[in-house]
Symmetry: C2
C-alpha cells in the first residue's frame, strides 16, 4: 500500500467496535476540542456521528474548524464511554472543504435563539442543526409511510400536471403563467385529475405541489405546498374516507415512532393512535363552541380559534386532540361536493389536529346531471367545465378523497409554531428566495 | 338481514375459490356477453378481474353495458376453467354509474389502432385499457423502487420549491410567472437546492416536476416532466455516481420484474442487468461513430441518431443497449461542472438507454473560487448567483449527482415510441389540456 492508497470510505453507521484495520471516514466537523496533546473531533455524516481522537501534534499547521468537511483515516478502538462503544484513533485528518470562520451559527448551535428569518436566510447552514434536520427526516418518513400504506391498499401513485388551462374551483387565487403565446395557470389541486384517474385505476394517490395565490402572511399559509392527495371509487359515503384516514394516520404515526423515534423524543413528542378520533357534525361543533366558549360569531365556516377550541374539547372527551368535522355548508365547499341530507350541508369534512386543519376531504358528485345542476346553482358556466363533465359519461363510481397538507401535518406532528419551519424553501406573499 | 343489508364490499383480489357466503363486489363492466339464459360479465376493479354469471332473466329491464360501474352480489363457485379458479354466481347486479353507449373505444379495445391525439383527448377512457394502465403501474413502481433503493443507502427525500427567482443556468427557456407584484419562474431543475441539501444531509433525492420552456414538438420532449433527482457528497469522482446508477437501475429493474411481471410480459419486455453498462469517453464515442457510421458532423454534443447508434454499438459489445458517455465538452455543460482533465472536458455524463438519453449527471465544482472563475469564464455575473455562492463557504464536500427523466425511463423500459405515452397529462408546445 503506497502512502496515498487508502481503504474505501465507510459510513459511520457501518462502524462497530469490532472493526479491524484502517478505516476512512468523511464528514463534517460537528465539534472540535483541542487540548495540548490530544484533539477531539466529533465527525458527522449522513449515517451518524463518531468521536475521533488525534494527536494535536499531527494537526500542526492544519487549519481545522467547525463545519469543515474532512477525511479521517484511523483505526477503531473500543471505548465503552463513547457513543456506540468506540472511538476512532485518527492517524490523519485532511480538510476537503473549508468553512468560513465567521459563520453566524453552527450545526451545534441552539437554533431556538435564532429567528425564522435568519434561519431561512442561512437555510443550508440552519439545516445542519439536528433539530432542523429532524423536521425534514420526519417529513421524509411521513411521505414514505403515506405511500407505503396506500400501496398496500391497492392505490396507484399518479403524477399529474401542475400547468392547467383553468382552475378547478372557478378561477380565483390562481398564479398565472406565460405559456408560449397563451396564458396558463398553476394547479390549485389535482382534484379533476385524480377523479379522472379514479375512472381508470379506482384508487389513486399523488404527492405533489399545489399553488394558492392567497395574499396571506399567516403562520399557517404557504403559496406553494406539498399536497398528499388520495381519491378512491366505490365508496358508501364520506365516513369510509374518514375511517381510511384514521387508519392511514395511525399507520404513519406508528411508522414515525419506529423510524424517527429519537427525533420525536428530542422534541418530547408522542404520537397518539388516531383510530378513536371522533366525527362531529358541523352544526354540532357550532353548538359545542357556543356552549363551551359562548361563541356565536361562526356560521358557515370555522376560524383558527374555533379549530383550537374544538381540538381541546375533543381531547377532553377522547384523550386525542383531534376531530373530524363533517357536514360543512355546501355553499362553503366546491361545486362538486355531494350534498349531505337536504338542509344545505355537504358530504365534506376537515380533520383538525392539535388545533389546525390538516386535511380537507369529502364525497364528490358522480353524475353529469348533478354536476350540471350544481354549476347552474352557482352561476358557473358548464361550458368551461366541458372536458371534466364528459368524464362522467364514462361510467363513474361513487367516489371521494382527501388532501393532507404535508407541511401542516409535519408541523402538527412536531409541534412547530410556524408552517414555514416545515418547508425547506417556503413560498409566501413576500418570499421567493432562497 | 333485511333485503337492503349486504356484506361489505370485497376486492376481487381478496377472493378465493373457497370463499363461502354472499359477497359484494364493485367495479367496471369490462366485457359482457348476453345469451338467452345466461349473461357473463367480466368485472374489473383495482385488484383484478372476475367472471360473474347471472341469469339473463334477472337482468330484465336493467340496461347494463361495457364501462358501467356496477355492484354485484353473489356467491363464489369453484370453476377450474375460470381465471383464478372460480366464478361469481350473481344474484343481483346494480348499476352505480351508467356509461354513455356511444363511447369511441372501450377498456377492452385494441388501442394500438387509436392515435396518440385521440388517446389524450379521451385520457380517462384510454387509461382503462390494460396496455395504458400498465404504463402507469410500471411508472408508479419505478418511483417506488427509486425511493426505496436510495432510502436504503441513507439518502433523505427532499421537497424543494418549483417557484424560483431566477434560473440555475443563466435564464433561458424559463416559464415566467406573475408572483403577486413581481416576476418569478418555474424551476428547470432542483440543482442548487439539492446541492444546498447535500450541505446538510449529505445524500438527498427528490421526485418532482421540472419545467423547460423549449419550443420542441418532438417525440422526446415535454415542457413539464418528473425528474428523479439525487445528489451526494464525499464522492471520489463521477465514476462513483455512474456506479451508483448502475446499481440503482438494476435494483429498479429487478423490482419491476417482480411487481409488474405480467405488464412487462404483455409487451414482451425483458429488462437487462445494468451492472455491465460500459462508460465511454465522449471523444471515444465520436471516434466510434466515425468508424462505424462515417459520421464526422458531431463535435460538442450527440444527436438523437448518434444516441441510437451508440446504444447499438454498446449492445454489440456487451449485450445491453446502454452506455454511459462521460467527458462532454465543458462548454456544452452548465457552469458548475467540474473539469475532467485539462483539455476542456467536463466530469459530466449522460446515460443512453435503448437509444435515448435518460440521465444527465456529473461532479460539480465545490469551492467558491472555482465557481467564481467558471462564471467569469462564461461572462455570467457572480452577483446574480450570490446566495448560491455563499453556500460554498459552509464547508462543502466534493459532490455530484444525476437526474433521470421519469417519463423517458418509463418509455424506454416499455419500448414506447413517444414520451407523451408515459405522461398522464403531457405538456408540450401546444398542449395544456386535459
Amino acid at each position: 500500500m503506497t502512502s496515498n492508497a487508502r481503504p474505501p470510505r465507510m459510513l459511520i453507521g457501518q462502524l462497530a467496535p469490532t472493526c479491524s484495520g484502517e478505516v476512512t471516514l468523511r464528514g463534517w466537523v460537528f465539534r472540535i476540542r483541542q487540548l495540548a496533546k490530544t484533539t477531539f473531533i466529533i465527525l458527522r455524516d449522513c449515517s451518524g456521528t463518531a468521536q475521533c481522537v488525534v494527536a494535536t501534534e499531527a494537526l500542526r499547521g492544519v487549519d481545522i474548524g467547525v463545519e469543515d468537511t474532512v477525511e479521517v483515516r484511523g483505526t477503531i478502538i473500543q471505548d465503552a464511554r463513547a457513543p456506540g462503544g468506540f472511538e476512532v484513533l485518527a492517524s490523519a485528518v485532511i480538510v476537503l472543504g473549508a468553512a468560513n470562520r465567521s459563520l453566524p451559527f453552527h450545526a451545534n448551535s441552539d437554533l431556538s435563539q435564532v429567528g425564522i428569518d435568519a434561519i431561512l436566510e442561512h437555510r443550508p447552514l440552519a439545516l445542519r442543526s439536528e433539530l432542523a434536520t429532524d423536521v425534514f427526516r420526519v417529513q421524509a418518513a411521513i411521505l414514505a409511510e403515506f405511500r407505503a400504506f396506500l400501496a398496500r391498499r391497492h392505490f396507484t401513485e399518479i403524477v399529474t400536471s401542475k400547468i392547467v388551462a383553468s382552475g378547478t374551483e372557478g378561477g380565483t387565487n390562481l398564479f398565472e403563467l406565460k405559456y408560449f403565446d397563451r396564458a396558463a395557470y398553476l394547479a390549485q389541486s389535482p382534484q379533476f385529475y385524480k377523479e379522472q384517474c379514479v375512472a381508470a385505476f379506482e384508487r389513486v394517490f399523488e404527492t405533489g405541489h399545489v399553488y394558492r395565490a392567497e395574499p396571506h402572511a399567516s403562520s399557517r399559509h404557504l403559496t406553494e405546498y406539498c399536497s398528499l392527495d388520495l381519491e378512491l371509487g366505490f365508496i358508501d359515503g364520506p365516513e369510509e374516507i374518514i375511517q381510511l384516514e384514521r387508519e392511514l394516520l395511525t399507520s404513519i404515526f406508528e411508522g414515525l415512532s419506529l423510524s424517527c423515534g429519537s427525533a420525536l423524543s428530542r422534541r418530547g413528542v408522542t404520537l397518539p393512535s388516531m383510530l378513536k378520533v371522533p366525527t362531529w357534525e358541523f352544526q354540532e361543533c357550532l353548538e359545542r363552541l357556543k356552549l363551551a366558549h359562548g361563541r356565536s360569531d361562526l356560521y358557515d365556516d370555522l376560524d383558527p380559534e374555533g379549530e383550537r377550541q374544538l381540538c381541546a374539547l375533543a381531547e377532553q372527551e377522547t384523550g386525542v386532540p383531534a376531530v373530524f368535522v363533517i357536514g360543512f355548508p355546501l355553499s362553503a365547499r366546491p361545486f362538486y361536493s355531494m350534498p349531505r341530507g337536504t338542509a344545505g350541508a355537504a358530504q365534506s369534512f376537515d380533520l383538525l389536529f392539535r388545533g389546525l386543519e390538516v386535511t380537507t376531504g369529502g364525497q364528490r358528485l358522480h353524475t353529469r346531471s348533478s354536476l350540471e345542476a350544481a354549476l347552474a346553482a352557482r352561476r358557473l358556466d358548464p361550458l368551461s367545465f366541458g372536458p371534466h363533465l364528459t368524464m362522467f359519461e364514462l361510467g363513474m363510481p361513487p367516489h371521494g378523497g382527501l388532501a393532507i397538507g404535508l407541511e401542516r401535518l409535519t408541523a402538527q406532528v412536531l409541534g412547530l409554531a410556524n408552517v414555514r419551519e416545515a418547508s425547506l424553501y417556503p413560498r409566501d406573499r413576500y418570499r421567493i428566495v432562497p
